[in-house]
């Protein structure tokens, strides 16, 4: 390409072009390295000029708006709503091998359980890497409960746990906004957890007490 852009590259970096004019520049620099280099250089000056502006810190609301769309905040009320939903789902699955103790019928009760417990946590080892996919198990040191959180969970993710009672399939958990959670009170403490996606191991961890 021999025809290079003129002043529009610098005007682009300063935000002075209309959207349709920017599209022309974008298309051009995608195929013209000299013009791309000039645009990058102009944007670096734009960034230097930005460093001279009065500084403003973002509000907490902006972070919540942005991150809330991608992943759940670490400690938020909505986090516990997911726990409650997962819990109720599990109750409805007629899971016979584990006996629930006192039924937790509200998110507040679940929250209170964690607040008044000593617990450990473990990240599950991922066997099927996927963007954003990760899982963590939080569990009471006395083995009385376990809370599983799966970020960017594949659809139809089965949870299998290991205990002295043997290997038990707890059924599927369903993500809400990309996050799936499960809260269980086992009769015997869980020593291992495995996630299955499409019947194949997706993630696993041992729970050490």
């Amino acid at each position: 390409m021999t025809d290079h852009l003129d002043d529009d590259l610098e005007l682009y970096a300063l935000g002075m072009l209309e959207p349709h004019e920017r599209e022309v520049v974008d298309a051009h620099v995608a195929a013209c390295k000299p013009c791309l280099a000039r645009l990058i250089q102009a944007e670096e000056i734009g960034a230097a000029l930005a460093g001279a502006l009065p500084r403003y810190e973002p509000s907490p609301e902006l972070s919540a708006r942005l991150m809330g769309r991608r992943r759940k905040p670490r400690v938020q009320a909505v986090w516990w709503m997911g726990v409650a939903a997962a819990f109720l789902l599990l109750v409805g699955q007629s899971w016979r091998s584990y006996q629930f103790g006192t039924a937790l019928r509200s998110q507040d009760a679940i929250l209170a359980t964690l607040v008044h417990s000593h617990f450990d946590h473990v990240n599950l080892t991922i066997a099927q890497p996927a963007p954003g996919f990760g899982a963590k198990a939080i569990y009471a040191r006395d083995g009385s409960w376990m809370y599983l959180i799966v970020d960017h969970a594949p659809l139809s993710l089965h949870v299998v746990v290991q205990s002295a009672a043997g290997r038990q399939d707890l059924g599927a958990i369903t993500p809400t906004n990309g996050v799936a959670t499960l809260f269980v009170r086992p009769a015997q403490r869980i020593t291992g957890i495995e996630l299955l996606a499409g019947g194949a191991p997706a993630a696993s961890a041992k729970l050490i007490y």
Binding site: D6, D7, L11, L53, M67, R71
Partner: protein, 185 residues
């Protein structure tokens, strides 16, 4: 760019959630400051940053390392988004425009703030060395957020001349700041 910066960029390009979170952690203050300088109030500025970041995040291929440093790229994107919002507001009613400019009209920043940042000091010195007609055009463009036409009208010179002055000013600054800094004692 160091390895931490490389990881940040790689995570952002791969659209990993931690990539967006770390970009926010590193650059949100820069981006909000840029948007607020243009739009004048916090709400509009944060709307601008929110929309620009999510658009880039959700559009595969919108950024790649060959496109330059991620920080510079994001700042340019937010500045473009903010200027588009501002121009749009000036085309609407005066009442709507006041919503965007309420705070900026109260305290218009018209010149470089004196900071302790070395690059800012170098930039200020470099701007002072620009030919006055170029410096004035650039100040109108960046610090007063004026359109090409507004600058041309304010200064009473043809539109093409304004474009040329701004472009030359930017290129001169790039040349000056590319030179290694010399410390003197």
């Amino acid at each position: 760019m160091g390895s931490a910066g490389d990881r940040l960029t790689a995570d952002f390009i791969a659209r990993r959630p931690e990539g967006l979170a770390r970009v926010y952690e590193y650059y949100a203050s820069d981006l909000v400051s840029v948007a607020r300088h243009v739009l004048g109030n916090r709400g509009a500025a944060e709307d601008c940053v929110h929309d620009a970041l999510l658009r880039i995040w959700r559009t595969p291929g919108s950024y790649h390392p060959e496109r330059g440093a991620l920080r510079s790229f994001l700042i340019a994107c937010v500045r473009n988004q903010a200027m588009t919002m501002l121009r749009g507001s000036t085309r609407r009613t005066d009442r709507e425009r006041a919503n965007y400019q309420l705070e900026s009209t109260a305290q218009p920043p018209t010149e470089l703030q004196i900071g302790d940042h070395v690059e800012v000091a170098r930039l200020r010195a470099a701007m002072e060395r620009l030919p006055s007609d170029q410096r004035v055009a650039l100040e109108h463009a960046y610090f007063k957020n004026k359109t090409q036409r507004q600058i041309a009208d304010d200064l009473g010179v043809p539109l093409g001349t304004i474009k040329s002055r701004i472009s030359h000013a930017m290129r001169t600054l790039a040349d000056e700041l590319r030179e290694p800094e010399v410390s003197r004692s």
